[in-house]
Structures are given as C-alpha cells and as structure tokens.
C-alpha cells in the first residue's frame, strides 16, 4: 500500500509537470506560433491606447520578451524557490510556492488561491453531502419502487436536474427565494465561516442546493440503475434465502455493492469541484477558485490561469489517488499493487 501511494505520488508530480507545460504552451506558445508578438500580448495588460513606451515597459516587466523556455523556467523556479518582483518603488519577495503575479491586478497568485479555497471548499463539500444523501436516497427509493408514480416523478425531476443549466436554476432560485420571498440572502453574500458562521450557512444554502440539484439528479439516476442491477444479483437472492429481512438485504447487501462504484465517481466529482465550481460560483458571485479561473480566462490572466489549472489538476490527481485507495478498502476484490 505504501509503495503504491509513493508510486502514485511520483506519477502525480510528473502529471502536474506535464499539465503545467501543456497549459503554458496553450497560453504562451500557441499565441506566439500564431504570430502574436510580445508587444501584442503586453498590450492586453496596459491601459487603452497605450504609448509604445508603456507597452515596452509592460513587456519587460512581465518578461514577455524572453524565450519561452526561460519564461517557463522562471515560472517553475518560482514554485520551487520563490522569486522577487518589482511593485515600483521597491522589490517584494514572493516566497515559494510562487505561482507569479496576476497580469491584471498584480496580486500574487498563490495567496489569492489560498484566499479563494475556503469558499470553494465550503461550497463543494456542503453540496457534496447534500447530493450524496439526497441522490442516493432518491435513487434507492426509485429502484425499490420501480415503475410506481414515486419512481416516475423522481426520475422526471432528476431529468430536469440533469438538463437544466446551473446558471438558470441558480438565478431563478435567487429571484424566488432571495429577492421575492426573502428567505435567503441574495447573490454575493458569501461570508467566510470564520467571520460569521450563521451568515456563511445562510448564504450557502441556495448555492448548495443549486449545485447539489444537478449532481443529486445524476446520482439518483446512477444509484437507481446500480440498485436495479444489484437487486438482480445472485447474492441478493442468497441473502433473502438466508431469511434476512428485506431491509437488511437492501441496506447491508444491495447498497454496499451499489455504492462502491458511486463512491468512485463521487470522489472524482468532489476532486473536480475543489478545482472550482465555475458556474455556481459565478452565478452566486462566490469568491472561489472557479470564479477566479473564469475571470482569469476572460481577462487572459495567464499566471492565474496557470496557477488554477495546476491547483485543480492537483486536486483531481489527489482525488484519483484517494479513490483508488478507498476502492481497495471497500471492494476486497481489488488489491493495490
């Protein structure tokens, strides 16, 4: 097990290096290959109608004139050893891991990420709990009452949940619950847990439900399908033949087998979300990683895009690792080697 984890961590680091090179290439190399000049790139980060001197200044300051390999080396070195950076009257130290400074607002990327992480964590974990509980319960009930009105109703709602974009459900729920009924606070009211736990909770209820709605729908369908398949398994018949109560058959035998693959997907989904729930965060104006990256992409903020991509990739790799280990724990047929 330990050897497995060590191997996987090494693979993960390699993976992150590849991701960083790929991201770097997409945002730096391809524009260059398409004829973009350092001045052309720099002109995005200066004011309207900037003088050639101002653009040259920006080129120098952002090191856009250096060969790409040097730029990448600078970036990589910053992560490992930190770097220094001019804010004008003096240099400031950007300690490792330094992912550089935003081209748009000059903020160091790593502290920004750390600042945004709690919001994303709050959103993702809260929503994950809701959707797991709700999705699995609905899926199980639907499967056990297959073909009944309950089943059909649940699956219709699930279909809606899967089909409706978060952008739509989010704004509609805000309009209804925040602005018309006034039950929950409106958009942009996210408050860190450490500042005001009550407000934190209230502000996150709608985003949680909105995000969870989509996933719960997905998980309900998955659980239902998995449950129907499991209930037809021979070992369920065996369990019944032993004289087990139906409830025990469902919870101890069927659910255990159904949940195992769902747990895998769950781990990956949560890992993916920790890299930012872009749509939910944007809709509810939650200052999380997803909001950060979508804004960075729109603003061509390369250091931030690069930073978030690596950060998100890290979570996905981590989630994969955890899921693999967990799978071996849950399913005795799987052995880590």
């Amino acid at each position: 097990m330990v050897a497995f984890i060590v191997r996987r961590v090494i693979a993960a680091v390699l993976m992150l290096v590849i991701v960083s090179v790929a991201t770097f290439a997409i945002f730096f190399l391809i524009p260059r290959a398409l004829g973009q000049t350092p001045e052309g790139m720099a002109s995005r980060y200066v004011g309207r109608d900037a003088t050639p001197e101002a653009i040259q200044g920006a080129v120098k300051r952002l090191h856009l004139d250096e060969p790409l390999i040097v730029q990448y080396g600078r970036f990589a070195k910053g992560i490992v050893a930190g770097q220094e950076y001019s804010i004008g009257p003096r240099m400031v130290e950007c300690p490792a891991p330094c992912f550089g400074y935003s081209f748009n607002n000059n903020q160091p990327v790593w502290p920004t990420l750390m600042d945004r992480l709690p919001a994303t964590l709050s959103l993702a974990i809260g929503a994950a709990i809701i959707w797991l509980v709700a999705g699995v319960s609905i899926g199980v009930i639907s499967a056990l009452r297959r073909g009944t009105l309950t089943d059909r109703l649940a699956m219709t709602v699930a279909l809606a949940g899967v089909s409706l974009p978060i952008y739509f459900t989010g704004l509609v729920s805000l309009a209804l619950f925040a602005y018309t009924l006034g039950i929950f606070p409106g958009g942009g009211s996210y408050t860190p847990f450490t500042e005001d736990p009550v407000m934190w909770f209230q502000a996150l209820v709608l985003p949680w439900i909105t995000l969870a709605f989509l996933y719960a729908a997905l998980y309900a369908r998955l659980t239902r399908a998995g449950m129907l398949e499991t209930m037809g398994e021979d070992y369920i018949r065996t369990a019944r033949a032993k004289g087990l109560k139906e409830r025990t058959v469902v919870t101890k035998h069927a659910l255990r087998a159904t949940l195992t693959p769902i747990l895998t997907i769950f781990g990956l989904d949560v890992g993916l979300l920790l890299g930012g729930a872009v749509l939910t965060e944007s809709t509810f104006s939650i200052p999380g990683i997803g909001k950060l990256v979508i804004d960075a992409i729109r603003g061509n903020d390369l250091p931030v895009v690069l930073g978030v991509t690596l950060f998100a990739a890290f979570f996905i790799v981590l989630a994969n690792l955890i899921v693999d280990v967990l799978y071996a724990v849950v399913d005795p047929r799987v052995r880590l080697s």
Partner: protein, 590 residues
C-alpha cells in the same frame, strides 16, 4: 432635425453647441443646479428625470451605500486606472486639480477647480499652465497636501514601467525628455515637465501649445500622492485620501470599503457631498444577479455604470413603474464603422457615399437595444461632447431605413452601377458588433454591394488586424466596425485620435479610415491652440463636418445606457461627463 431624439436631449445638444462660453468658473454648488428645486418625492420621479434634475434630493446623512460590479478595476489607484466609472468613483477619495461641475445637463460638462484655486492659467505661448493649490487641504492622516505631491503623482503614473494601466497624456504632452520616472530616478528634480516653485504652485511645461490642458488635469492622475506613502502597484490598497472618504479595507477582486475621511473639509470642496457613513463595493459579481439585487433594492447602484443587462432591460421596459426608476443617458461612446480610403473601391468617395445612403440605420441600431440602447447617429461627436453640432450629410430615407435610390446614384457615380464586393471586419467575440455587421451586410446587399463578414479577436483587433493598415490593405477590409469614447468630453478629446492623419500608426491605429486630410489636420492644430473656448468648440464642429464630408465615417448610434435607481438611493442625477450617476453625491434612505 430628422433623426429621432427625445426633446430634452435635442435641447441639450443645442445648448452644447453654444460651448463653454457661459462657464463662469465658480462652483455649481449643490443647490444651484437645474431641477434641484423640485423636491418631489422619489415615487413621483419619471423616466429620465435623473437626466435633467436631481432625483430624490436629500441631505440626510448616514447609512451604507452599496455598489456591486461585475468585473474588477484595473486598479483603484487614481494614477493607474482607465476605467470610466473609476474616474467618477475615485473622486470619493482622490481630488484632482480640477473636476466637473456637479450638475446634470450641459452645466456638468464645465470644469471647476477642485484642489486648485482656479482653472489653469496659460502662458502667452500656451505651453505653460499654472495652477495654485488651495491652502490647508489635508490627507486623511492630517498632513497637508503639497504641490510636490501632485508633481510626484504625475511622475509615477505617466513615467513608470509598473503603472501601465492609466492614460499617458502627461508623458505625451509634457516637456520631460529622458525622464525615467520616480522608481528608477529617485530625484524628483530630474522631472522637468512640472515645476513647483513653492508648496502651492504647480507649473506644467508643455512641448507644444495645448488649449484643453484643463481637461487633462481633471483626470484622476492629478490627485496628489505623497512620495513617502507610494508603494507602487500596492498603493491602490492604501491611497492617501483627499476626498470625503478613505479606504477602510480593500481586498483586490472582492471587496472595497470606504469610510468617512474626517480630514476632508467641505468648505474647500464645491462638488462633493459626504452623506453615507460607509460605502461598500463588491467586485466580480454576477451581472444578471446585480440587476436582480438592484431591482430588489439590496444594492444601490451598479458601479460599472454601463446599464442593466438584457434580461432586466426587458423586465423594465414592460413595467412603466420600473421604467420611471430608470434613466437613459448617453455614454461617451459613438458606435460606427470606418471605411478605409485605401481599399478599393472605397478609395472613391462615391462608393463610400453609396454605403452611407444604403445603410438601414434602424437595423444597425437594433443590436444595441433599439432606441434605449442609443440614438441613430449622423456625426462623429456624440451629443454630450463639448463642440457637438447636429447635422446629417447623408439622409437615408425618411424612416432611416436606407435610401436605395440615392445609393444607386452614388454607385453609378463611382463607376460601379451594379455594386461591388467588399469585406466587413468585426470583432468576432462581440455579439452586438457582429449583429451590426450582419445588419449592414443585409442593407448593402439590397443595392448590390456584396459584403463578406470577417471576424477577428478583440484582444488583437487593434494591434494586428483592423488597427494595422498593412493587414487592412492585404485583406481588403473595406469596412471596419468600431466604437470610440473620448477621455474628456471635448471635440479634441474625441476627434484627434481617430481623424488626425498624422496619427495613422503601423499598428494600434484608430484612424482606420486612413484619412489624412491636411484641412482636418490644420483645423485640429488650430483648435488646440485656440484659447477661446467658444471659438475652439466651433472648430471641432468644423472638423466633424469635414470628416463626414469624406463619407468614410459611418455612424450607427450614440450609445445610451439604461441605469436603474432604486428608491432608496437619494441625490441621484446623471453626470454628463461620465454618463452615469455622480457617485460623490449619492446618499441612501434609511
């Protein structure tokens, strides 16, 4: 007077043509403004009331004024920002030498002293401009503002490699050859473009006469910065305040909180109020949700000042009550197309005229949101530009839907009676502009002009595509869809970059017509050297006409926005210099 326009706006336009002759230089203080005498309750306010008078006037203090914004600024540093709203908003904590009169209508386009005692005094040759600082103006920490702080502020904002976001007019006009900025050159005495003979006198030394210099010092870059407090890029988080508010906290990309600056002396300030106890700004908020919050009264204003999104617009238009809580002001922007005079057959003026006549301007107005999104244009300058004159050289039908007969005549005169083929270049990632291009394409098709739409990314539009004449020629980009808003509301501010033939650049070119008419160039030179404002403004009108005579400039709309003012917002009026509410006047009902 053929173009559709609201009566009030037509009147405003006419008044504007009279120029700044009436400018007395004294304060347009709070209660002297047109319309403020009307003390009607908020509920009786009508659509566009905020455009002509102060809606919901009140001097009640207290409360928290809440703004939300869908983006974040380039910087909150007054020296490092080019965002239109921030030139308005930053006045809450940073006072420039001059500013605009706090008043709706044409009055608001007049400059008044802010930190300075009076407007600038120009030397005989027009190359030296002197301002006297008011005495006793303090920063929020109680220290007094000195002339050197103004000099330092301009040195850092215009001559450093770090502060790249703001305009560089001072670097362009000041005689400061070889100066490397205060970060590389710690000795401010080496900055020869500005002299400070004493602590209250600031003398600007220009390379050439520039009669509109007062407009330049009305931009936030002339707000003083004490050298000891300057932290360069970090300064935006702790700006030394001279205004009625100071920064309490600023989390970049998230939240800015302002609180009252006790060291602000209203006796020295004729244009600002200090009504709310706090001002809070949320950045990076969902644009649609901002509108929902505005309509629900949870926030007081959309900081961007660019108006509501299409969804809220539809809701407002459908509800007369909601509509009464809105104003529909002009932005500084003209939306237009330029025809390249170097791309055949547009090198022939009659072919350009054919396009002028053929264009269905109702169709090209629609993508902007119809009449609420902008008035159909016929000139370069917009109605809120000082010097604007109304005329229409190419009337295209009584309904503005194009005059096919005249277009055909022009085509024949051009030697292309059956039409011709050309390309329309457009920023492909701007849906409204693409729709305009499509509408134009359809208009031209009716008279036999077959236009192909070519889309380019907006990021490199100016550097690599439409702003690069070589590219334009090679790719035969006959028509380019563009827009322009001036940095200051005068004819020169609007016109010089886009019509001066000597400003045609190899890249980053805004005179995409490549119009290099000596008569136009001479008029611009003459205007900027004319110190008499009325005379000068007349010249800007002539420039406008001259350029329109070339038929290379095809105006679509004078852009307008739809601003929503919640009933809890007091002291609201549209400041014409910014095209949005005057953020220094707002108060909140508690």
């Amino acid at each position: 007077m053929r173009k559709t326009k609201a009566l009030a706006l037509a009147a405003l336009g006419t008044a504007l043509t009279m120029g700044l002759a009436a400018c007395g230089g004294t304060a347009g203080g709070g209660n002297n403004n047109t319309g403020t005498g009307n003390t009607g309750a908020a509920s009786t306010a009508k659509h566009n009331d905020g455009y002509t008078k102060v809606v919901n006037p009140s001097d009640a203090k207290g409360g928290t004024l809440k703004f939300a914004y869908s983006d974040e600024p380039d910087s909150m540093d007054p020296g490092n920002t080019y965002y239109a709203w921030n030139w308005n908003f930053s006045r809450l904590y940073a006072r420039p030498l001059l500013t605009y009169t706090a008043a709706p209508g044409e009055e608001g386009l007049k400059l008044v002293p802010d930190l300075a005692e009076g407007l600038g005094e120009a030397s005989e040759d027009g190359k030296t401009w002197t301002y006297k600082l008011k005495k006793g103006i303090k920063y929020d920490d109680g220290t007094e503002v000195k002339a050197a702080d103004v000099k330092y502020a301009i040195a850092r904002s215009n001559f450093s490699a770090e502060l790249t976001d703001g305009p560089k007019y001072f670097a362009e006009y000041l005689d400061a050859e070889g100066y490397e900025g205060p970060y590389k050159d710690k000795n401010l005495d080496n900055f020869k473009g500005i002299e400070t003979p004493d602590d209250y006198t600031i003398v600007f030394k220009l390379k050439a006469p520039f009669s509109e210099f007062d407009f330049l010092v009305a931009n936030p870059q002339s707000a003083p910065v004490p050298q000891a407090k300057d932290t360069g890029l970090e300064y935006e988080k702790a700006v030394a305040s001279t205004g009625p508010y100071k920064m309490e906290s600023y989390e970049v990309g998230k939240q800015l909180n302002l609180v009252k600056n006790e060291n602000w002396d209203p006796a020295t300030d004729t244009t600002r109020k200090q009504l709310p106890d706090r001002i809070e700004v949320q950045f990076k908020q969902n644009a649609e949700d901002i509108d929902q919050r505005l309509l629900a009264g949870q926030i007081h204003a959309d900081l961007g000042g660019t108006g509501v999104q299409p969804a809220a617009r539809a809701k407002i238009v459908a509800d007369p009550k909601l509509k009464d809580s809105t104003d529909n002001p002009y932005t500084p922007f003209n939306r237009y197309a330029m025809m390249s005079t170097k791309v055949a057959p547009f090198d022939n003026i009659d072919c350009r005229k054919a396009v002028q006549y053929a264009t269905d301007q109702v169709a090209t107005q629609a993508p902007w949101g119809g009449p609420l999104g902008g008035d159909i244009g016929s000139t370069l300058m917009t109605p809120t530009t000082v010097g604007y004159q109304q005329f229409d050289l190419y009337p295209n039908g009584a309904d503005n839907k194009g005059d096919a007969a005249k277009a055909k005549e022009s085509l024949a005169a051009c030697g292309q009676p059956n039409g011709f083929e050309t390309n329309i270049a457009v920023r492909g990632d701007r849906p409204k502009e693409v729709q305009v291009a499509e509408a134009l394409q359809a208009s031209l098709d009716k008279v036999g002009i077959k236009a192909t739409i070519k889309k380019y990314p907006s990021g490199d539009w100016s550097a690599q595509y439409a702003g690069k004449p070589d590219f334009v020629h090679q790719n035969k980009l006959g028509i380019m869809i563009a827009g322009w808003g001036a940095d200051w509301p005068s004819g020169f501010g609007f016109l010089s970059q886009i019509v001066d033939g000597r400003f045609i650049k190899d890249s980053g070119n805004y005179n995409m017509m490549e119009l290099n008419d000596p008569a136009v160039n001479d008029l611009l030179d003459k205007g900027i050297q004319t110190t008499d404002a009325a005379e000068r403004n007349k010249i800007w009108g002539e420039v406008d006409k001259k350029v329109m005579e070339s038929a290379a400039f095809l105006p679509f709309v004078y852009e307008k926005t739809l601003l929503f003012r919640p009933s809890t917002l007091t002291n609201v009026y549209v400041h014409p210099a910014y095209g949005m509410y005057d953020y220094t006047w707002l108060g909140v009902q508690q």
